[in-house]
Every structure is written in C-alpha cells, then in structure tokens.
Symmetry: C2
DNA sequence: CTGTTATGCGTAGACCATACGCAGAACTAG
DNA sequence: CTAGTTCTGCGTATGGTCTACGCATAACAG
C-alpha cells in the first residue's frame, strides 16, 4: 500500500543525509546562498558565546546576515539543527587507542576526551537528546570506544553496554559540575562558596533526627571542602572500570 | 553594606520554603483560593497525561479552573514550579533499607525504586535540573541511599560519590529506554522494531572499513534482538556495584 | 524563449512566560 | 462602625518563540 519513499530502510532527515554526504544538489534552481555546515557552525558559535538558550532561529539567522525563514530551506526544524549542533559540537572522535594501551587505559583516555569536550561546551548537556546517535562524528566516538575493548573477552552486546555506562557517567558528572559552575556565575560567588552555601542551606532545612545519615555527611564537612572536580571524576570512573575489570576477569575464567 | 534579608544563610525561593512548611499565612488579606500543592499536583497531572512539553502556565491554570496569572501568586516562576514538580513527581523515598539486607541489596532496592519512578514518569527526565536537591522528598531519597552504606568502611564523601554514581546511572538508563519508547510511539512501531530499524539505518550509513568495530557489533545483531530492558539495567548496575564492592574491600584492608 | 524547479524570505498565526496594575476581599486599629 | 492596610485574583500587554504558507525571483533544461 504505502509507496517506498526510499530504496532501503526508514527515511532519514534531509540534513542528516547531507551530513553523511548523501545528497547531491539538484541541477535546477538558484545557487544556495548558504550551506548546512555554515548554519550549524553559526549556531554552535552562538551556543558557545551565550549558551543554548540563546540559540533561536532568528538569532542564528542574524549571525549569518540572513532572514529567519531562510534557514528552513536547509534544516527541517530546530530539533534537526540541534542534532547537527551536537554532532559538530562534540567534534572529531579522539581517535583509536594507542596500540600499547590496554583496554583500561584506552577507555580512560576515551572518557577524558568526552569529559574535556563537555567541560568546554557545557551547552551540549542541555540539548534534549531525542534518540540514538546517527550522525557521523557521534558514530565515530562509538567506534573508537568499541575499539578499546577489542582484545577483551566481552561479547559485542556487553561492549556496547560498557560504553553506554561510561558515556552516561561522563555526561552525568559533567552535568553536576556545570550546574555548580553556572550557579556560581549566577550568584557571583566562588565555586567553592556555592557548595558550602548549599551545605548550609541543607543543614538549616533538615531535622537531624529524621535525616541522620545526611546530617552526618554535612557535619563531616563533605560539602564545605572544595575538592578538585577532577578527583571526583576519576573516583567514579575508576569505580566503573573496576566493575568492568571484574566482569572481564570473570569472563576470562 | 548589604542588609540581611534572612536571619541565616542564603535566600530560598518562597515556594521551597512553603514546601518545608516554613511559611505561615499572613493574617491580612483575602483567603488564598488555591495552594502550592494543588498547583503542583495539577501540573504533575498534566505532565503525566500529555508530557512535560504540555505543561504551560496557562494549561495548568486551566486544569485548576483559574486564570493564568493567578498562579504567580504562589509560584515565583515556571522553573520554581518545575522544581516542585520534580519533588512530588519522585514521591516519597523508598524508605530505609531492610535490616537484614547488606549494603548491596539495599542499594539495589534503592536503584530499582528510582528506576520504577522514572519508568512511570519519564517526564522527570526532561526537566532541566538546575541545581542540587533542596526539596524535602529529594533529600529523603538521599537519606535512604546513605543509610544503605551505613555499616561500610567508606568515608562520608565516598558514600556521596557512590550515590551520585548510581543515581546518574539510573537516570541515564531510563533516558535511553524512554527515548526508544517515545520513538516507537511516534512511529507507531513496536519497541523492538525501533531498535532494529536503527540498526539497519546505521548499517546503511557506515563504511565497514572506517567503522570496523561498529560494523562487527551490527553484524552480531546486537541491535536486532530486543532484549529485556531490565536485563540491560541490571547489567550496568551490577558493574557499578562490583566496582563499589572492590573499593569497600580495599578500604577494609 | 519557455517551462520547471529551487531559493530567499516576508507575512502571519499560534503559542509561550511574565511585568504591571487595578478591583476588591479580609483583616486590624481606632 | 469606619478607615486603613495588605494581600488575592486576574485582565491586559509586551516581547519572545517556532514555523506554515505563499510569492517573487534566479537558474537551469529543452
């Protein structure tokens, strides 16, 4: 009944196809005055400068000296633009692991690479992700992560799960630290002060009888000391990698 | 220079204070026709029914038979309302761990409790979280999680890190599965079909030479088999808990 | 030269959050 | 009982958002 719109598989958003270089320009009609990459770059520039909230179609168009509606000839919707922004925002993958590195060193490097990107471009965390990755660079990251696990005894599905585990952790950690950073920028306080102010607030709110464990954490001064966020990061990452290591050893017998 | 607006600590949004029961009604003026909890409940009802995107001030007001601007007498901004929605959306914490359970069983139960909430209310994942938790129920969840680690050799800061690690994982896992579910609802396909359609799309896009590891994953049929999402969940959770266990053993000497 | 097709983009519609100000209700002081 | 004060409900208005639609025009094919 339904006519096939494509020769194989489900339809892909036009801008995604062009990101994979699967789209030749039709011979007729006037030359396009812009290009998808130019639009995406402009949008990324706006996000880098003023955050994701500043990225509106009109603002991006202004950045390019074009009219708002002109963008819609290249991008199907704002969501599509956001997807492409994520792709170029992450940038090229960190590359395959060094040959002398074992899987653990490789994945550590991989995780740090994403960590660094997210610290630089915290707006990536605010993009509502609407599905699994299908853009070129995103899949490049996946590929490089999978290669780190190449020599291991894990099954393919397990490798995938491990990567998901790590990406999720990196994103989560970056979200938390970026929130503290944004909070300090909003209140004009030092990043350390934000945490201790939070600790004071919680201490004032909670009843030590109903929240004994939380009270103990607070009196231990956990939130007062402003420890290096990177230490926090490596702590969690090492816990995860320890868990993966346990699995690999078990699989090896 | 700056006059103290409060007797202790930083200022708190009014609606948060009322959530902690720290606000008595002023004796003058007409009776309030609504209440903060009623507004938040209405907003949660809207989100449950039509998703977070449907939650607008006018929609919530309509739900209550009130005018849009009336809400602003109770809630300082939409962001404040969202914060309160998260609090009641999570609901009461799962309670302290069973006495006979060890830390691992306790945390597993704790993680599953959050898992269940997020599966029921996937809109919670779409709320842009704007800071560390300060609402009553949120801190209740923290408390219960901390209690699971009460008997262990971990330091207070380490306990906190472990909890952050687990919550982050649960949220991340829930985000992924809810995206698949939303994708299937949008396309009208079975959840299993969504994954295999994704696999087909990726297979069509990538070059096996440039993406060998990814190609191997695809040909292994990882994305075709629609495995139980719960299996995926316990896999990652067990990895993390294995990592924590390794740390606890190391601390114990 | 004519027909076809794609582009640039102006207009307009349907939402959204929210600043501001006014009418009136409920209380207190006299 | 009255006047003053304070708080509520909410109408109006502003400025922002995305994007559907349609028209003029540019570039090519025949």
């Amino acid at each position: 009944m339904a006519a096939k719109t494509d020769d194989s598989g489900p339809v892909l958003p036009p801008a995604i196809e062009s990101a994979w270089g699967l789209r030749e320009r039709p011979p007729k009609g006037p030359r396009p005055g812009m290009s998808v990459p130019a639009i995406v770059d402009a949008a990324v520039r706006v996000a880098d400068a003023d955050g994701l909230a500043a990225v509106s179609m009109s603002r991006v168009a202004k950045e390019l000296g074009a009219a708002t509606m002109a963008l819609y000839r290249y991008v199907g919707s704002k969501d599509e633009l956001l997807m492409l922004m994520v792709d170029t925002g992450y940038g090229p993958s960190p590359g395959p692991p060094n040959p002398q590195d074992d899987w653990r060193a490789g994945l550590t490097r991989w995780a740090w690479a994403e960590h660094d990107v997210l610290r630089q471009r915290s707006w990536l965390l605010h993009v509502p992700i609407s599905g699994p990755p299908i853009t070129p660079q995103q899949l490049g990251w996946m590929e490089d992560g999978l290669r780190c696990l190449d020599g291991t005894t894990l099954g393919e599905a397990e490798k995938m799960s491990v990567l998901l585990l790590i990406t999720g952790y990196v994103r989560n950690e970056a979200t938390l630290t970026s929130q503290v950073a944004e909070g300090s920028r909003a209140s004009g306080a030092e990043p350390g002060e934000v945490m201790s102010a939070y600790g004071q607030t919680v201490a004032r709110l909670i009843d030590p009888v109903r929240f004994p464990a939380l009270h103990r954490v607070l009196t231990a001064g956990v939130l007062n000391q402003d420890d290096d966020p990177d230490d926090e990061f490596v702590f969690g990452l090492d816990r995860i990698l320890d868990g993966v290591e346990a699995l690999i050893r078990r699989r090896a017998g």
